[in-house]
Amino acid sequence: MKISRRNVLLGATAAAALGPIASRADTPEVAIGVIYPLSGSSAQIGVDAQKAFETAAEIINKDYDFKLPLAKGEGLPGLGGAKIKLVFADHQADPQKGRAETERLITQEKVCAVVGTYQSAVAVTVSQTCERYQIPFLSADNSSPSLHRRGLKYYFRASPHDEMFSKAMFDFFDALRKKGQKIETLSLFHEDTIFGTDSANAQSKLATERGYKIVSDIKYRANSPSLTAEVQQLKAADADVLMPSSYTTDAILLVKTMAELGYRPKNIMAQDAGFSEKALYDAVGDKLEGVISRGSFSLDLAEKRPMVGMINEMYKAKSGKDFNDYTSRQFMGLILMAEAINRAKSTDGDKIREALAATDIPGDVTIMPWMRVKYDEMGQNNDADPVLLQYLGGKFVTIAPQRVAVSEAVWPMPSK
């Protein structure tokens, strides 16, 4: 082709026209992938999660006077005020679909970071895919301890894992024992997926180490149609503490079956999940007075940190619900990821990873009861203290740790 003057002119015009687009593409929006079950049996979790993430994005993108990273001012100052854009994907609780959706988010939607996933099994493939594309993944609400021990470089988790949760429970038992309470025997009751298995493994290990006797250890099939035989065993063992690790539907069935068979456990210390879901207390709350559940969040924190209450109101306006254990961690997950992106001043996966690894945020600028946020070399934050909550008079009150507790534990739990 002969280069004519007109062609040169055309080229120059085109370049001039493209210029602003190219430079605008560097700053305008920062896409973050959010991957949750949005259909299937845990769809409600995903729908609530969406609202939590939207609340977090709103706080980052608009100007709010909270003592929370990125709340003041609009967007990410480190990236010229770029706004956070959330791209949601549905993994239907299937590891294969989680992998495919992550790949789509990274290659098609060009997200620079991924947050997820509720189910631990899906977190395995999602984090693995992120690793392959060198995109950081923040595990907002997965609690399986095996996740951060796989030697992944791009995996981060700010919230506690099940071993930390179980440790908090046994610390609590030890403290009660010192005060003269009789706690000797435990019954473990757990479902058979990763969550229940990991939880029970951690609990039996701690029980042996600290001299508690496990009188029954019952693993049941998740979403079981009947738990009668299992509850019979629990009743026969009648341990000092029953420790269930169950999702919502199983937890409801467990409580109903116990009532039918006339079994009233002396104490219940639950591993979150179903026992922090509103649905359980709506269905059988009258039978649960005095139940203790571990959690990673407590609204009681609002008394000491008013922003917790205000942010909760924002979330409530969207979802009609208070923050719970999951939605609070999801909210915080996005804030922490955005905070790192802001410090990285880039949407490059490696730079964000470095920024995440250098994170050191004191706990009181979060909405969580944590000491601080600082990831170890495996990407786990070991300063995320869990809380213990007791269900009394129709609501949860924080009973441990001391720093955030608002009342003393009622032990043993009321017998009616």
Binding site: L38, S39, A43, G46, V47, Q50, V87, F88, A89, D90, Q92, D94, P95, Q96, K97, R99, A100, E101, E103, R104, T107, Q108, A121, V124, T125, Q128, E131, R132, Y133, S144, S146, R150, D192, T193, I194, G196, T197, D198, K219, R221
Partner: protein
Amino acid sequence: MDKDFTSRRRRELIIAAFFAALAATVPLFVKDVYIQNIMVLTLMYAALSQAWNILSGYCGQISLGHALYFGLGAYTTALLFTKFGVLPWFGMLAGGVISAVIAMALGYPCFRLGGHYFSIATIVIAEIALVLFQNWDWAGAALGIDIPIHRDSWLTFQFTRSKLPYFYFALVLACIAWLVTWWLEDSKWGYWWRAVKDNPSAAESLGVDVFNSKMGAAAVSAFLTAIGGSFYAQFVSYIDPESVMGFQFSLLMALPAVLGGIGTLWGPVLGAVILIPLTELTRSYIGGSGRGVDLIVYGLMIVLISLARPQGLVGLFSVSKKAVSR
């Protein structure tokens, strides 16, 4: 054997070769990994459904427990690789053989059951296997097996980002499953199976070895299904009991064949080509809302297809129409 029949079979082979060649060139134009992923899944399900079709379509023994063989294939490969360092290629064959043997061992008592009782037995056995694997600590129990990523290699059949090797493997697998079916259709076994399907007593009275025909169909079907399972383990590089042995997998394998035309050569392929992209695309592009619209659309499509073409989509094409009516 009339001339018409032989030439039709030859024509089918040519058509298949044409489509396979066409499919092989698609990745030259489609570079998007997400779309490539859908193509891999489509081919995988085409192969799996073809395998299911051998036992359930041709031989008429409706199995709703094929997830068992799929899972056995996936677990054999993954366990041999992670525990003993055996290359997945050998694991794949081992998984296939183990599955075929187990299919025959299970068939021995179960093929005495007629009709629906057989189907129920297959569901129950697969569920038992699922529970066993969920509790088998050495095999990872509920935690599953995470296959560590090393570097890209055909030897270990691992590729960090590229989907092409998986695509071509799945294509070869689908072609093999198709060819096996094509070849069996006109073999002694193929005729025996159809006779068993139509009327076992009449077939028996004409000298068909009913029991052994069923055993043969089960072995071939399980072998191919297990290869598919091995492939899945390598492709996803993480397996847990629920995701490779769950009941939904048994249905997902049957669905393309049922939708496309049960007991036909082209049914499973056609069903998979329509069904898999439909599920994946609806989930990805309208599933993000959290309102379940994708599942409604998906369900509606299946209902409409079943209403319009109860004998399967394959009836829409004249070449295969003869295959249905034969």
